[in-house]
């Protein structure tokens, strides 16, 4: 079959077999009301401080706004983009918050995650409004700070930018899903041992998330290398790259 005929065939197949994307955050109704409120309360100060940080940096550095646009949109798209993982036979989404934490700062990354999750809950039936606090905590806070911390640790250990970014991407993904597991286990373990439930849930995520975290690590590292080559001044401004690099 020639390419000119193959393309419309594939297009026909795609158009005739639409499938809704599946949500991959904690869904509406899973967290009991008390726990849902708890995570809102816990996440709120981080979001508030993040807004403050964004305002400050915007005033100091006007170039911060387009960076915010790039990585804000990236987190939104990444976190509702289901990626098939063949070895697990299921799909999941990257977090993206490790990358945004490196370029925007971890607190600003929390804000970006919060807005992304809110839009997904409102329009994409992804996650939920009552679970917004919990999802913000796991993806926004735990994902951002773990990714940022892993990156900084990598730099302290003299790893190059790619591998430091790789660590950030992997950590952000795995810790995000640890956060999800933690929240579910905490709220729902009942009479079962908390640690047992936590371990079961987290291990259940791993066949899908480990391969995906590696992909996220490669993407994060690759983007940092790209910025290093094309706009090294950005990384110097962030104090993650020396003059000689």
């Amino acid at each position: 079959m020639r390419f000119s005929a193959l393309l419309p065939t594939l297009l026909g197949l795609m158009l005739l077999s639409p499938r809704p994307a599946l949500a991959m955050h904690i869904s509406e109704g899973i967290l009991p009301p008390g726990w849902a409120a708890f995570w809102f309360v816990l996440a709120a100060p981080f979001v508030a401080w993040g807004v403050r940080q964004i305002t400050r940096r915007k005033n100091v550095d006007p170039a911060y706004i387009p960076l915010l646009g790039i990585f804000g949109a990236a987190v939104f798209v990444f976190s509702c983009f289901p990626i098939p993982v063949p070895v697990a036979g299921s799909t999941a989404h990257p977090a993206g918050t490790g990358m945004s934490a490196i370029f925007l700062g971890p607190f600003a990354s929390v804000v970006v995650a919060f807005i992304s999750l809110l839009l997904q809950a409102l329009f994409l039936a992804h996650g939920g409004l009552t679970t917004l606090g919990g999802n913000t905590f796991s993806m926004g806070i735990m994902g951002s700070f773990s990714g940022y911390g892993a990156f900084r640790l990598g730099r302290m250990l003299r790893l190059n930018l790619f591998w430091s970014g790789f660590l950030a991407g992997v950590a952000a993904d795995l810790v995000t899903y640890f956060g999800t597991s933690f929240e579910m286990a905490l709220a729902l373990h009942g009479t079962r041992p908390f640690s047992l439930v936590l371990g079961q849930i987290y291990l259940a995520f791993m066949p899908t998330q480990v391969p995906l975290s590696l992909l996220e690590g490669v993407v994060t590292g690759g983007i940092i290398v790209y910025v290093q080559k094309h706009r090294p001044d950005i990384l110097r401004k962030l104090k993650v790259m020396g003059v000689k690099e």
């Binding site: 079959m1 000119s4 005929a5 193959l6 419309p8 065939t9 594939l10 026909g12 005739l16 077999s17 639409p18 809704p20 994307a21 599946l22 949500a23 991959m24 955050h25 904690i26 869904s27 509406e28 109704g29 899973i30 009991p32 170039a63 387009p66 915010l68 646009g69 790039i70 804000g72 949109a73 990236a74 798209v77 983009f81 289901p82 098939p84 036979g89 299921s90 799909t91 999941a92 809950a121 329009f123 994409l124 039936a125 939920g128 409004l129 999800t180 579910m184 709220a187 373990h189 009942g190 079962r192 439930v197 849930i201 259940a204 995520f205 998330q209 094309h230 706009r231 001044d233 950005i234």
Partner: protein, 95 residues
């Protein structure tokens, strides 16, 4: 044109085949919300409810995902140009 029509018909026939219909009965590639989150929540006594704003109706959700992806891509592209094209020139001028 004849090849396009034949290719389209081929696609239709393939979609109507029993193998394809059988595939619909057992969804493949489930999200981790089904395989992990909702499964364990159900085992532990909680079930997910429909979203308060339920856009998962027909192809509406597919449309919204496509729209969101398009808007997100536009924003990334526009801001990428600001940073890596226009911004790069500004940085070079400053240097």
């Amino acid at each position: 044109m004849k090849r396009l029509v034949l290719a389209g018909l081929f696609g239709l026939l393939l979609c109507a085949s029993p193998a394809f219909a059988q595939e619909e009965e057992k969804p493949k590639w489930p999200g981790v919300d089904e395989t992990v989150v909702e499964k364990y929540a159900k085992d532990l006594g909680r079930e997910a409810r429909d979203p308060y704003i339920n856009t998962d109706q027909g192809d509406l959700l597919l449309f919204l995902f496509a729209l969101a992806g398009g808007i997100g891509g536009f924003i990334m592209g526009y801001c990428w140009h600001k940073v890596f094209v226009a911004g790069k020139k500004d940085a070079e001028r400053r240097d």
